[in-house]
């Protein structure tokens, strides 16, 4: 049995340039998660004339305020309001991307990705490959996931696993303002199509962001947010904060959780994940997406393939309940793993 008193020490260098203690860069400023995304977009549009954004209600600031003030700076030519035409927006981005532009499509809600399913999964994801690698498609599709206080079953989806399943798409889910900004900038600069899924539950979370316009986080690097020895919590997006809260709650009980924030699901940084699990010998995966066939299923399978003989307990998963998210705000909050759920699961895992 492995516990916090396990004599095997945690080994290996931390891979995170700005771990849970917060960024160490000199030039930082505090802002919200969604404002950080707006900053990233503005800075990238200033840097590169081929970057533009397109979506619904952008001129008034977008659904979540991230683009407020952008028309004044960049004009209507680079801040394009569309009508309710998701398939057009994404298909148009694909065509613009393959001819030298870098579109950023703001899609209101991740649920709408299904309306533009052909355009996202078959065109952005496949065009380069099916035409013999002759095209680059540097487009970013921003699709907020999760509940936002009564948005209802068709506006609360967490469907980032679709991006994992369809080859050719990179998938980003930032967990704090710093990452929201630096990962969006990396997404804009990436020559591949990137699906960027901010978690709506984090919209008003405040935290430091870099003021260095060239601060990016390369896609494919997970971060160890907290060092621990009892078990590794593998998570991303809004569940990262809850996992950290659970870890603090358990610290007095001799359960010492390590928390790995994946940051991107494609590419998936399995090296950081498995290095952590090889130290702690236990793994708990937590995500906002429904549990069945969610990202946790893939991650659990990959971890056991790499770490089976080093595991002291079965890999556990926590995800949203397998039901549509009701519009009721009262019911909504019971759909997703809470800090208490994570704490309880980690306790059970530690006892095995």
């Amino acid at each position: 049995m492995t516990t916090a008193t396990d004599p095997r020490p945690a080994t290996g260098p931390a891979t995170d340039p700005h771990p849970a203690t917060g960024p160490v860069a000199d030039e930082t400023r505090v802002t919200t998660y969604q404002a950080a995304q707006g900053e990233a977009l503005v800075e990238e549009m200033r840097r590169d004339a081929s970057v533009f954004c397109m979506g619904q209600d952008l001129r008034m600031g977008g659904f979540f305020g991230g683009t407020r003030g952008m028309v004044e700076e960049f004009g209507h030519e680079r801040v394009l309001d569309t009508s309710i035409t998701e398939a057009f927006m994404v298909g148009c981005a694909a065509g613009a991307a393959m001819t030298g532009m870098r579109p950023v499509v703001q899609m209101g809600f991740a649920d709408f990705s299904l309306i533009a399913g052909d355009e996202i999964f078959q065109k952005l994801g496949k065009w380069r490959h099916m035409h013999g690698g002759q095209f680059e498609l540097p487009a970013v599709i921003v699709m907020p996931i999760g509940p936002s206080g009564g948005a209802g079953p068709e506006h609360s989806g967490s469907m980032e696993m679709l991006g994992m399943h369809f080859p050719g798409l990179k998938v980003v889910v930032p967990s704090d303002p710093w990452d929201a900004k630096a990962l969006l900038k990396a997404a804009v600069r990436d020559p591949n199509p990137v699906l960027y899924y901010p978690s709506k539950q984090l919209d008003w979370i405040r935290g430091p962001v870099s003021t260095d316009p060239d601060e990016i986080i390369p896609l494919g690097q997970a971060a160890v947010r907290r060092r621990g020895t009892t078990a590794t919590v593998i998570t991303y997006g809004c569940m990262t904060r809850r996992a950290l809260e659970a870890a603090e709650a358990l610290a007095g009980e001799g359960v010492d959780l390590e928390v790995v924030d994946l940051r991107t699901l494609v590419p998936l940084d399995l090296d950081t994940v498995t290095a952590s699990v090889l130290r702690t010998h236990r793994a708990l995966i937590v995500h906002e997406a429904p549990r069945t066939a969610g990202p946790g299923a893939e991650i659990a399978a990959a971890v056991q393939e790499r770490c089976f003989w080093h595991l002291d307990a079965p890999i556990m998963r926590l995800g949203a309940v397998d039901a549509p998210v009701p519009a009721s705000r009262h019911l909504e909050q019971h759909c997703f793993p809470s800090v208490a759920d994570i704490t309880e699961a980690a306790r059970r895992l530690a006892r095995i």
Binding site: F88, G95, A96, M98, T99, P103, E119, R128, H129, G132
Partner: protein, 325 residues
Amino acid sequence: MAPRKRRPTGVPADPGLLLGLFTTVARARALEDALAVHIRDHGFAGFWHPGKGQEGAVAGACAALRTDDYLFYQGRGATWPLAKGMGLQPIIGDLLGRVTGSTGGKGAGVPHWADPALGIMGEGATLGSVYPIAAGAALSAKMRGTDQVALADFGDGTSHRGTFHETLIQAASWKLPLVYFCENNGLAVSTRFEDVSPTPNVADRAGAYGIPGVVVDGQDAVEVHRVTAEAVERARAGEGPTLIEAKVTRVGGHWEGDAQQYRPDDFLKDYRDPLEILRAYLGDAHAETADKIVADAAAEVAEELLRAEAADLPDPEIITKDVFV
């Protein structure tokens, strides 16, 4: 069925243009005929949708584009890439799944020919998906300040897709340099256009978007060239999209080998061979030249077909290449 010779009045008989169109249609026809024989004798790894009978519309429209204009074609026949400047080997190589194809044999069967340097931007096989993509290329040209035009080619069947409407309403509002080019052969696989369309023409819908809609005899390459050149000029001038509908005849089945039991006996009654129409335009003065073009095209296609057959199949390693840059 003997083609009816006809030379419309009022059409300038530019010999260079006519010979160019005739050459394109002759080469495309030679390819269609050779492929039909090849598929009959050897089978085919995929689905070939023959474009025989529709070559004139395609050649006429494509001749109105510059090399740097963007072409998004649909998957019937091979005239579009041929007319836009692609060599026969890259076309046939992809059809037979060989490394000599434009995609290295990856886009074979249902071919995905592409060559960005020639403005050949590829195909989406979920038909009707190229409308917004072509609009994106047009938007890009406009934003970059070039005077490039994008052409979206499609059939009457996909003119009913939601993307047709989504794109046209936005592209017309934004006055994008976009040409919608419909090859209306009256059949979506077996479904007749008149059974599923409330209006007799696709182009009738143009008014709803505040853009011009033009119906043209798609078997007459010269007429198609004339109306497409007008649409391209309009697009280049920043006046927005045009919806062109070329009435064509699908001489063959939906796929090569299709028994076509859904077809009435007289389905070719209105068909006039686009190659023969062009031959009539050229007149007696160019009869010998025309004959030589036809003979050369057949010989060239036969040679390239043999070359493609002898070429290697791609290494399976290419399956995992080109997923990401």
